[in-house]
Amino acid sequence: MMITIILAIVVFTTVLNFAALHTWIERKQSALMQDRIGANRAHVVLPWKWAAPVNWLLKPINELGLFHPIADAIKMFTKEDYIPPFGDKFLHTLAPFLSLMFAMVGFAAIPFGDKLVIGSHIINLQVAPLNVAVLYIFAMMSMGVYGVVLAGFSSNNNYAFLGGMRAASQMLAYEITLGATIIGVVMIFGSLDLQQIVRGQGKLIFGWIPMWGIFLQPIGFLLFLAAGLAETKRIPYDIPEGESEILGYFVEYSGMKFGMFFFTDFIETIMIAALATTFFLGGWQVPYLLADGFHFPWGSMMALPSLAVTFLQVFSFSFKVIAFCWLFMTIRWTLPRFRYDQLMELGWKGIFPIALANIVVTAALLLFV
């Protein structure tokens, strides 16, 4: 019980902090792509003479702009919280909380490591070891649409209303598509338990290729990325926001309530990255790393203590998630935005039928091979 709570707190704070840091990564990545320096004006310099060594230590952080997430937070918390006079006060306040909550709770079912052995304790590195984790995560992600729709509805603003409607239809369409893209993986590993799916990816094909989802389901992987990006509501799928068209469902929000929607986007990005990692890149698996150390395909072996193995696994998971986040960011800063009907067309007429075909082919292969 205690251990679960501690794990939950660790995961919660890690995700929140990474989401905050994600804003920094996004700024720097976009700056890198656009020949800019990126935000670096949030300086912390102590005024006293004796603090010179501290200032010296702070200097690289200042120059990298790492204080910007904190500055953002301060700004958002101290801004006026505006509720439109003819909006629904209760729903208007509720919406960002719903949005953020449903984005966060999904992480409980993501396994970020195998087992942590401390003395006689064995800790399963997954907050909620559910045997229907896939269903749970997808249910929570679908619930997230409520926050968005309520935000659009309660703002009493035509732009926000349009944004809410767009978000609802987009998320419904892509939720189903997203579900269809991972059926292949679920069928191969025969489980809805994410920990089981990840463990299943520890095997090897032909004795040297790790049995990751990406090698078993390459089409499923690409479809998942395409549909998953839509789930994050970011360019090229940012039609609910469409900042130059309809400004978005959160147009009437200010201060930290806006910040929560903003945060939700980042957390959803991390969520999709975590899911992609779990389903297709072997989750916490490190190639050839078993519980007692590396077993290389050419026969040699490198024994490792269990703590090091756990550390490597958690590191591997985090690394993959960050890599996916980086990939999403690169896509976000390269492509323009879809139009509403084109998005629906892509979802229903493009990704969905291919995903169904993928399921059929996978089923046939599983049956006959």
Partner: protein
């Protein structure tokens, strides 16, 4: 239909949405009142006038020379073309033909301006479609050109470089090399953006078959420029009625086919390349010589154009002897002590005279304060030039006094904005953004 059935029928209502006046996609300020059925635009009405600054009326209140800074603020993305258009119209009143070198300088500066305008337009449309990176690339390229403009004119945006009878100052030393370098850089960026956008499936899907206008409708509205050419009409003022020295260059007029946003985008991208070609040819051909004429048609010597006192260095100016550099950079050279003006009614006296003797002061005073400046003969003149958005015309009526009786501008984007409802009705709300972006509405020019 029974009453129950009628009751069950869903009641549908259209939604009124005010796009603008303050909206991220409405460059400047304009309001599009749209009636929406879901996402589809049923009808729309464009309301302009939010940036009305009484340009035409103000022009009637000031002398011919003082109109110049106002023209910068018409199309603030390509102010050099506005300058040129106005000067050409006044010169037509006078019957002046400026020197060869001045013509070439004008052509070069106009084409640089055209490129900056197209870069801004295409970049901004791309940004509004979400491709923020392409926008910043293009703004980067624009900055290379702005640096060139700054070198020549001393300012980046509100340049007031042209003068009635020529240009304010000669090109700076080393201009050709710098200009060619900047053009090469710009070309690189345009190619990069071309690779990023032109075959990008999302971008093409967003632009193709949106904001379509037929050839006949475009002509009926009086649309010109890239907008008209995208429908397939080969009309370019530079080609149809060549002014300055445009007939000496080898360039193509890119023509579209469908009249949709994508063709407009392609037209603008191609036009930038053609403008670069024109500049390169002009740099090859440009002769040496004076760059400014008085209103009597006589050349104003270089030394009279240099005005050191504007830099604030006035001590002892009247007693110095010096040689001259006819560029703006020449402003830090010594002043010719008795630099005389050909036409005291047309040109401001050197500042040293203004500050050091009564004749100069009075001359200056009369010209600035009393509208005693240039006096074109009675008459009227209309001069069209090819602005970045289309035909930019200045119609000037002179009653023989120091102030224009009437200055009327034919802004290219005014007629396009008038046709905007035709373009966006029946489309999707999201299509307003690229369509409006391709109109390249400039508030200053539209509302004047």
């Amino acid at each position: 239909m029974t009453q129950a059935a009628e009751f069950k029928k869903t009641r549908t209502e259209s939604m009124l949405l005010n796009v603008g006046p303050s909206h991220p996609a409405m460059h400047g300020i304009v309001r599009i009142i749209t009636e929406l059925d879901g996402e589809n635009v049923l009808s729309s009405d464009v309301e302009i006038g939010y940036l009305h600054r009484a340009f035409e009326k103000s022009s009637e209140q000031s002398g011919y020379l003082q109109v110049m800074p106002y023209t910068d603020r018409l199309n603030y993305v390509s102010p050099l073309i506005n300058n040129t258009g106005y000067c050409l119209a006044v010169e037509k009143l006078f019957g002046l033909d400026v020197t060869e070198r001045a013509k070439y300088i004008r052509v070069i500066m106009c084409e640089i301006s055209r490129i900056t305008d197209h870069l801004t337009c295409v970049g901004a449309s791309a940004m509004e479609l979400g491709a923020f990176t392409a926008f910043l690339y293009m703004i980067k390229a624009r900055d290379y050109l702005y640096k060139i403009i700054e070198d020549v004119t001393g300012a980046r945006l509100t340049i007031s470089y042209m003068r009635i009878g020529g240009v304010k100052g000669d090109l700076p030393a080393g201009f050709e090399g710098k200009c060619r370098e900047a053009l090469a850089e710009t070309r690189k960026v345009i190619k990069e953006c071309d690779e990023l956008l032109t075959k990008n499936r999302i971008f093409v899907d967003r632009l193709k078959d949106t904001g379509v206008i037929s050839k006949e409708a475009a002509l009926g509205y009086g649309i010109t420029g890239p907008f008209l050419r995208s429908t397939g009409v080969d009309y370019d003022v530079r080609r149809a009625t060549p002014y300055l020295v445009y007939d000496r260059f080898d360039f193509e007029v890119p023509v579209g086919e469908h009249g949709d946003n994508y063709d407009r985008y392609l037209c603008r991208m191609d036009e930038m390349e053609q403008s670069i070609r024109i500049i390169e040819q002009a740099l090859d051909q440009i002769p040496q010589g004076p760059v400014l004429l008085g209103t009597d048609g006589k050349v104003i010597p270089a030394e009279d154009m240099v005005d050191e006192a504007k830099m604030g260095r006035v001590e002892g100016l009247g007693f110095r002897v010096a040689d001259f550099d006819p560029t703006l950079a020449g402003a830090n050279k010594y002043m010719y002590p008795e630099g005389h003006v050909n036409n005291k009614r047309a040109e401001l006296p050197p500042k040293e005279d203004t500050y050091s003797n009564i004749e100069g002061l009075m001359n200056h005073f009369k010209m600035i304060m009393d509208g005693h400046g240039i006096r074109p003969p009675k008459g009227e003149a209309y001069f069209p030039v090819e602005g970045a958005n289309g035909e930019l015309g200045f119609y000037i009526v002179s009653d023989g006094t120091g102030r224009p009786y009437r200055v009327r501008v034919r802004p290219p984007c005014f007629v396009i904005v008038a046709a905007l409802p035709v373009l966006i009705n029946g489309g999707s709300l999201a299509d307003i953004v690229p369509t409006f972006g391709s109109v390249n509405m400039i508030g200053g020019e539209l509302d004047r």
